[in-house]
Amino acid sequence: MRRVVITGLGVFSSTGKDKNSFFENLLQGRPGVRPITQFDSSPLSIKIAAEVDGYNPDDYFPPKRQDLLDKFAQFALIAAGEAMKDSGIVVSEEERYRFGVVMGSGMGGAGSYDAGYHNLYAKQVTRLHPFTIPRIMHNAATSHICMEYGAQGPALATATACSSSGHAIAEAFHMIKFGMSDMMLAGGADAPITYGVMRCWEAVRVLASGNGNPATACRPFSADRKGMVIGEGSGVLLLEELDHARKRGAHIYGELAGCGMSSDASHITQPSVDGPVRAIRMALDEGEVEPEAIDYINAHGTGTRLNDSIETQVIKQVFGDHARKLAISSTKSMHGHAMGATGAIEFVATVLALERGMVPPTANYTQPDPECDLDYVPNEAREKRIGAALSNSFAFGGLNAVLLVRRWE
């Protein structure tokens, strides 16, 4: 059976614009949650988000290129660029057909939708900009990455809300494993911090307001948790077939050993225990990894009352007594819930935790909750040898994706 390894990492987020600063900020427990700068948030009850700090597209793209790129596709290209550079890979002309891309996005070109509809409904214009469609389409990130790097193999986009990039990585993994390709750029990107999207989220009543202190707004697993914080950014990984990576002497971060997917088929927003349990078991089975071999779980950990208690039950059900021995953290406490990018951003954190033997903490943890009584690595990073780790994504809509990474030695 073909094996798949991770040979390149890229991340662009509120907690860092490259993998090293990103991971360092996570280890230091520094949240990227701040007052919203992208639009006037004063009419909203929620005025905070995890924005990429001081993002200016002029620093990354010439003006002509920006015309065709919604911000989510810009983020995707930046993170993909880092992953490619990090991997040191050079894809030959003949290999282009064996090189593909899968990117997830929950919202697609949300900012371009917002701007277009504002013109249409508020300004009453009668025609919209002709670049609106190429900017908003969910596959724009995938397509631009393909064009940038000449990737002509299998390529697609996933849209499963908060699990989008978990599913993207899982799909890319299976494409390599089952022989469709040898190299895949996989991850996700989202730029959902717009007036329209934030109004939509506000209405769901799952966001934390921060009460004047944005940095401490998101408190996963803590008894005083008040909800999630919307984030933005992108995470992209280069996945490679093992022999292909070895032949070129690539640095191997770890082996992507298994991916689990499941559907709750129960409720459009409320998570179930059964669905995530099956997804984790599927990932363990595929990787042929015993539950006791898992040392770290990067939790979905949104910081809502329901998610965190349900996820705790899920982990207990799968791992039994071992649930109390493994380290669990939610890095969303710092980089926010970056929607369709979040699974990939968190998987980058998981892979770096495994490679460096450092578990990033759950920031803003203040009080134990009887319903969340496991080890969430509160507030302080921890040195720990990690043999295998999981990254959980449980989406609105009940679509779950779990990624299993194993140490490569």
Partner: protein
């Protein structure tokens, strides 16, 4: 500013080119304007001149001078059906 100068200004702006590099005799191909760029320029022209440019006429705009001539005729309220006839047989402005 006459129509010709305005067209050059708009094409230069939308293509992020120096207006001095946009000759009235240049073809879209020479300026690196592809089908999607062409649609974008049409949009900008329609916005600027507050007009509608029919698809059949738009398809015939493959050079700066053709744009200027077509626009002049539209703005003067002249019959432009001969331009449409000339465009017959050419492909759509944007694929997919």
């Amino acid at each position: 500013m006459n129509v010709g100068e305005k067209v050059v200004e708009i094409i230069a702006r939308e293509q992020h080119l120096d207006p001095g590099d946009v000759s009235i005799d240049a073809t879209f191909e020479e300026l690196g304007i592809d089908s999607l760029d062409g649609v974008n320029i049409l949009f900008a022209l329609e916005e600027e001149f507050k007009i509608d440019i029919p698809d059949t006429v738009a398809q015939n705009m493959k050079s700066v001078r053709q744009v200027v001539d077509s626009l002049n005729r539209v703005l003067e309220g002249k019959d432009i059906s001969d331009l449409a006839a000339m465009a017959k047989g050419s492909g759509p402005a944007a694929s997919n």
